[in-house]
Amino acid sequence: MESITSMENTDKSLIDAHRRGDPAAFGELVRRYGDNVLGYLIRMSGNREQAEDLFQETFKRVHEKAHTFHGPQFKGWLFKIATRVTLDGLRRGKRTKTVSLNQQLDCDNPNSEQLDAVALADNSCNPSEQALKAEQAEQVRRAIELLPARQRATLVLAYYQQLSYPDVAEVLGCSVGTVKTQMFRALKTLSHKLPEI
């Protein structure tokens, strides 16, 4: 508990330092939460390239809106911005009907990031097992991608980012009950679409 408090304090002090014009403080915040935020954005957008764009936009807004941060928990505020940026970005993406070339699993490309990710996750050297895992991961990704944006955000924040339901409610700006409902609906949908492993 102490460590959480001290981390929060440090976040607060970093954002204060950033507001005072200390560039190193902002860099520290980006490094501290970068992996978390990028992971969230990749799962939300299903596309690394787009996620990196959203990542830049998220931290740009954090930089610009730093003076509006007053809360105790920086992480929640950061994810709130990331969610807003993502939902805006996804809405724009729908309008322009862009198709991501990276969305498809590039099985024949040995440099494929997705295959690398699976290979790292699974130390098995068996190529057929790797291919199977990659295919299953792709199915999971597709299933999550088909969820409505709010449900997807709830699932990713609660399950992958391991935020508590009240924290998710804070990020999404709704009640805990709504979060639980969204989560239940997302899980119910996924239960029919997830592959057997």
């Binding site: 980006v30 990542f55 930089h63 239960s191």
Partner: protein
Amino acid sequence: MKNHLTENELIEYRFRLSSEEQQSTSSEHLTGCAECREHLEQLIKKFAALDLLREDAHVPEALISEVLEQAGKPVQRKVVPFHKSPWMGAVAAAVVACFVLLMSNLNTDKSTQRPFAREPKSEDRIISNESGAKGKAQADSPMTMVAQDTDAKTKIAAATESAQGEAATRIVTKETSQRTPLTAGRARDIAAVEASIAPTSKPIPEQPPFAPASAIELVTLPRRDKVQLTIYNSADLTLVRERRNLTLKKGWNWLQFMWANTLIDPTSLSLEPLEQAGKIDIQQLVFPARLRELGRWLIRSEISGQVPFEITYFTSGLSWRAFYMGTLSQDEKTMKMQGYVRLGNNSGEDYDNAQTRLIVGQVHILDEIAQLARRQYPYDRPELGIVHDESLGERAAEITNGAVTLQYGWAAQSLDVLGPKDIKKEGLSEYFLYTIEGTETIPNEWGKRLLSLEVEDIAVESLYKYDEERWGNQAIRFVKFANDEKHNLGQTPIPNGDVKIYSNADEQGYLSYVGGTDIKYIPVDEKVELNLGPARLVEIAPKLIDFKTENYIFDNRADVSGWDEIRTWKIEITNTRTLPIQIEITRGFGTAYWTLQSEIPYEKYDATHARFKLELEPRSKQTLEYTVRTYHGTREESLTQ
């Protein structure tokens, strides 16, 4: 015992979605119910699939650097529009007026103060213009705006000093009305510089004024009205055409152009008036000594007022490349094709709302634009020309420019030795120009992907080829179509780029990756064959069934001088696909003297190769058998006879 827990209840229990009370009730039930425990385990196992996406993402350092660099730029802040709050404009006007009067009292003698002070009406007009200008200004560069305000005040003071009140008033009026729209480009400004102040009624002096050495006389700061980028993908070269409205006075005008921190080739700068061309004469472009990364145009104008100009130059750092995605229908008879263009901007300059044109074709250039842009002086050291500073006259220094060694001072060398900068143009008619519809904003260091082509139902042929000499023991898959109207294409040539082909795997629209390749430039009406790589579902197994030699011929010394070799081959082709296929099998014989016998027709592909074309039903096998006789030594003559 209570009824078994439903799947919904189990989900709620597993993910702690129900109330505390419900959680404990479910927990109790599970303790005593093996069936529900098993059901729960199955559910946990099912949701374990979610963990396949749990791998951590790592932010690349380059991305962090980009974010930090972006954060290093000034934050965009809203500017309060003065025109919406007239009282604020009035306050600002009063402050500026006080400042102006204070400065003129401090810095000028009485004779110069009077004319300026006697013009309250014009001054009021100036101030209101200035405050109105602020309201309209773009808020993207607050630091620049402050700098401009300071400039304006300095300029007012400088104008007062010049003891020509009338002219000073005119300058200030002009600058305040023109300064408003700031360019979004962070590194470059354009400004008309007045070197002399002359009433419009006076005749234009014949001799131009000497280029001012400082930028204190900045008069206008116009924004780009339009910008057009023509990007060549074969060379690191982009032609930029900007349209800006410049305010000229009657007489001589200096126009300053700065390119600090950009990759602009200063030797390529060109300026043309778009209107009143007969009354405006662009006399020269000079690169003042000791002032780096700026040039000044000398313009003789017979009119005063706003004139649209076009400024053109080459820059480096902008690039584009095309790539494509093809989606085959389930029967593989048609393909949907989407083409994209990725634009990148590392030129050091932001281009807002630029009309973007892309050129396909080879351009040969003598110099790297980026190197030209980074040179300290556009055409080499300024001292190379006639230097009027005698203190430099005796100072000898060597400047290496190729093999030429020159000296400073009055013993100036001809500039001819440098030679004009040359850009070769070859085969312009073979280029093709792609214009992106509308305009695009491409900030510096950003990339942008645009949809360039989207065509449905392109009729395609799937074809397999087998040629051991080219691809070894594997069949290669090709997709064929043509860039013509029959295939819903043919409007434009297709630029070179990478292609990825996917296939509709099922009716839900899931795609499976088929293969990828790169295509070269495809002119209109040209056929295309996309090599998608080895085909795993089509197998070819050639076997040599029989080999013998015969028809030996002996020479006078009883040595063998000619013979025939007869080989019988059996090639088994297996199609494990659920679709019929066409396959071309090419066989080489290593000699131009051969005859072939086969029940399956063949064509002579070239002197040493024969080609068979077969069609296989889905999930079928076919055997190709042929006997080839090759003639060697003196036996070759028997074939020609």
